[in-house]
Each structure stands twice: as structure tokens, then as C-alpha cells.
Amino acid sequence: MAEIVAGLGCSHAPSIAHAYDGRKTEAPEWKPLFDAFDRAEQWLLSLKPDALVCIYNDHVDQYWLDAWPQFAIGVGEQFDIADEGWTPRKFPPVPGHPALANHIAEQLVANGVDIAVSYRQVVDHGILSPLPVIDANWAVPIVPIEVNVIFDPRPSPARCWEVGAQIGAAIRSFDRDARVAVIGTGGLSHQLTGPNFGRICPEWDREFLRLISESPDRLRDYSLDDFARLGGDHSVEVVQWMAMRAAIHPDSKVRFTYYYPFQLMGYAIIGFEPPARQAA
């Protein structure tokens, strides 16, 4: 049976992609973040995952308003690079894992999560801003799972936690010897509209990092409005971190926490390992 070998939470942002593509990863203002991603990549790849289940949100690049899903999963053989207006980034398509993805989709629907299935899909910076710095060569196939954090009505943080738990159960019931890492992308604090554009909230970000580490189930008591008030309207992407945390073993321990509040974002990366791995 499949095993979840790691949980990773990390920010996504066009700024990460622009710094990477503009070869600014060694520039003084970006080096701290990319050094942290380097550490995360070394750790992640050392665990030799066979698949990365990436819980993220699309930014109106794949999904559209003719039917905007609350949750969606990509079951394709590969995922093309989205054109977000700047022309597609110069990467080959990202390999998918149809067997695992179809299994997760079947299990979710059988267990009360009526997830939309994407047979054809592009991926945008929700996955592609961190992916080149956590798996530079597309060595590991991905399973993208999308969460609606953009258009009302949106699923509550508690619902995202429940769906995350179901994703974890579905992965563990995959009848193959597969080592799976679960990644939640997004956040932390940022505000991209209005008179408070650009405001970040480092105190809340540190508290969120503490909660997701030590008592993640308490995050189920927060509403999207709470997250928006505490970390900015666009920080609600942290529900994807919650889904990741719910998917992995509840007694998972933090391997590392990095936080870099800079410019428009509270950038963060956190790594979790399940108890079996800690003993090994």
C-alpha cells in the first residue's frame, strides 16, 4: 500500500517565478527564500517520493466561470504550462500520475467528496512557482488538487480540513508501493486589492505556523473571514496548508520551518514527517 512520507506547506506567488526566471535567486533580497527552498528540496527528494499530491488554488488560468469547481483533481498524463499573460514559462509539461489521481478521485467520490475531475489541465503559478525549486527536473509526477478560494461561495476551512483528511485516506488506500508527499501551497499573509494593498501580517503568520505545527485542528474553528481579517483577503489560501496537514499523519512532526516576510508576502515553507519516518 502507498505511504505518505512527507507533508510540505509552501507559499506560491508570481514573484517567486519572476525572481527564478530573472535569475535573482542569489540576489540579497531573494537569497534567503531560495536558500530555504533549497533545503526543502534536498529534504523532499531525499525521501524519494514517487508522487507529489499538490493541493493548490488556480488563479483563473485553468478553471473558468462557466463552472467554477469547489474542488477539482487533475488525472491527466501531463499538465501544460499556463499562459498567465506573460507567455508560458519555459518548462516542459509536468508529468501526472493518472493511476494515483484516478484512485484518489474514485475514493473521494465514494466517500462523500464530489470532486470535479479534470481530464485536461494547465497548471499555473499555484503549482509552478514553487515546483522548480522543490523538484527542479520534474523528477516526480504530480497530482494537482484545486481548491476554490476565489469566487463565492467557497468551502470553509473546516471543510477543506475534512477533504484533506479524505485525500490522505485515499492515498493510503492506493494499492501500490508508492511513496507520496502531500504539498499544500499558498499564503501566508498578503493583500492584493484596496487601500491596504501590500500589507503583510508577520505576527499572525508566525501564529499560523505555530498552530499548523502544534494544534492544527484548532484551525478548523477559523472562518475564511477570520483568515482574511488576520492575514489579508488573499491569505485565505492557507486552507490548502490545512488540507495538507489533515492528509498526513496527525502525529507528524515538524522537520523545519522557514519564514521570510518580504515585500508583498509572508513567504513560508514548512516540512512535516510522519512518526514512522522519525523512528527510521
Partner: protein, 114 residues
Amino acid sequence: MKGLWLNQALNDLRHPECRAAFLADRDAYLDRYPLTDAQKQLIRDGDYGGIIAAGASVYTLTKLGATTDVSLLEMGAQMRGQSLDEFTAFLREQNQQAAPFALLPDGDTGDNDG
């Protein structure tokens, strides 16, 4: 949905042929969509806060910025009612105030002036 066609007109700028059409003849591009005159004027004026207030998502607005080469920082400064220099100064100060909260690998200080 408020701003449905506004979002459509902005988000179609993901397609290179739409970006080319917008840049070649903006008014003709906007006329393809059932937009109100007020909505068209917001786009002509580059009134980013107004575009959001009219129902656009910031994630469709970013496609306009990508097309017209207006950065997120420039859009943000306008939404704040500041010049880009004023906004940059705000961010520099915010970076300094936030730096003590950083958690970084050994050897990185996070000490930068942005």
C-alpha cells in the same frame, strides 16, 4: 455575476492573439464584449481599483498588467493612492519591521533593505 464580462475581457488576455488585438486596437478589442461604457473607460484609464470595484478578480486583472507591462507594484500603489516611490518606501519600512519575525536557514539573516 457582477463583472462577468469584465472578467472575460481581462482573462482572455491569456491568449497571445487577444493580447496582440488589445495592443493593436484597444477599443476594438473591448467592443468584442458586452461591457458598459463605464467598464470600458475603467480599462482605458487603467483605473485598477475601479476595475476591482466593478467586479473583476485581481487574478483576471493581473492579465491586463501582463499585457500592458504594468507591474503588480504599480497597480498596488495606485490602489493605495500613492506614487510608486511612496509605496516602495512603505514596503521598505514594512520589511524592516517584519525582519525580526523571519525564520531562516543558518547563515541567512533576512537583513535586507528591500
